[in-house]
């Protein structure tokens, strides 16, 4: 279990198609935590995707992302989501708008800066899903992800599927000691 969190940086944006958090990973930590106080998508039916940024803070777009998570729902049966060899990871939420009440999420990253290791992640989230008839339903994600490329990762980029934007988004990155 983590013994301490050390704040590294925040990043935020309004009316943006993506949010990049550059140079948030370094040789100082092996494990990082991310909280998401605000994530407000301007359209429903939109995934939240993540790509890692390489040592030049450029998106890693190769088909080397694997993911698996369980969607736990209060309104319907649970469902698994999994995929291999993707060009991005799917994280945290789907159909998320602040008008549904906000959300909560914690995501951990392991060994991102280690050029000899893959970058692994775990996530757990809690949000109101807006895509069902008659209003939102409550969902949660519990999952894992990996970037199957042994390279130095300096940061992350969050973005929407298609051309949708975030009305607002804010994340905080911590090092875990």
């Amino acid at each position: 279990m983590a013994t301490e969190l050390q704040f590294i940086k925040s990043a935020s944006g309004t009316s943006v198609s993506s949010l990049s958090v550059t140079d948030c990973f370094s040789a100082k930590y092996d494990v990082y935590a991310m909280t998401v106080p605000t994530l407000d998508q301007n359209s429903t039916a939109t995934f939240v995707y993540l790509q890692y940024l390489d040592s030049s803070n450029t998106e890693i777009t190769s088909a080397s992302y694997d993911r698996a998570f369980l969607v736990t729902s209060a309104w319907t049966t649970f469902a698994e989501q999994r995929a291999t060899n993707q060009t991005q990871d799917w994280v945290i939420a789907y159909n998320q708008k602040d008008t549904y009440g906000g959300m909560g999420a914690i995501m951990y990253f392991f060994n991102p800066y280690d050029s000899s290791s893959y970058t692994f992640s775990t996530q757990q989230s809690s949000f109101i899903y807006g895509g069902i008839s008659g209003g939102g339903g409550f969902d949660g994600y519990k999952g894992i992800g990996v970037l199957k490329s042994a390279q130095q990762v300096n940061g992350i980029k969050l973005f929407n599927a298609s051309t949708h934007t975030f009305d607002s988004i804010e994340v905080n990155i911590y090092g875990v000691k």
Binding site: A74, D139, Y174
Partner: protein, 211 residues
Amino acid sequence: MSDKSNKYGYVGVDIPAQSFGNNKGVFNPAEINDLVANNQWTSFGQLELIETQEITSTVATFSLDNLKENIYNVHFVTITNWLPSNDDRHIGLRFKTGGVTDSATNYQYAMARNNAGASDVRSANDTKIWLAYNVGLTRENLNGYFYIYNAGDSSKYTFVTSQNLHFGVGIDSNFQSAVYDTTNVVNGMEFFASGENMTNGIFSVYGIRYS
């Protein structure tokens, strides 16, 4: 407008703006206290213990009433060696607003259980959140943790993600997401068993600064 007040060791010159990771000057204790209170002081260690409380007798409910929700947007709560007074009891959670426990149908949760034959648990209109199922008096204690999001935000719901485990029929892991689906400011929480009482448990609540 420039700030030429005498502080941070500066006299008669513009005072540099202060922020986390960017403090400039020579600081006295009062100035440091002010900057800490305003989240402008650089001090690493953002997992801050708010309080630890222990169940020391047989009780029906147990509360943590100090969240400092005006400071922290995300809280981290640990549960150590929780035990009900009877077998096969669940551990429940309700939130407090204005110091009063809310037991109305303002809760939703979805919990996955990992043991042989266990069924998932979900509810969309409930009076509580179950954090774990079927903890046993004659079995091993429950240990785990959960995060609370937006407790002090009067414009958002209060969300929870949790993971708890105990040894029941076998190793029993319970992870879930939950929501207190009102925009009430949450300033406390109450734990209870699904029947009878609780006999053991240590609860610690931490705030994550800058969250």
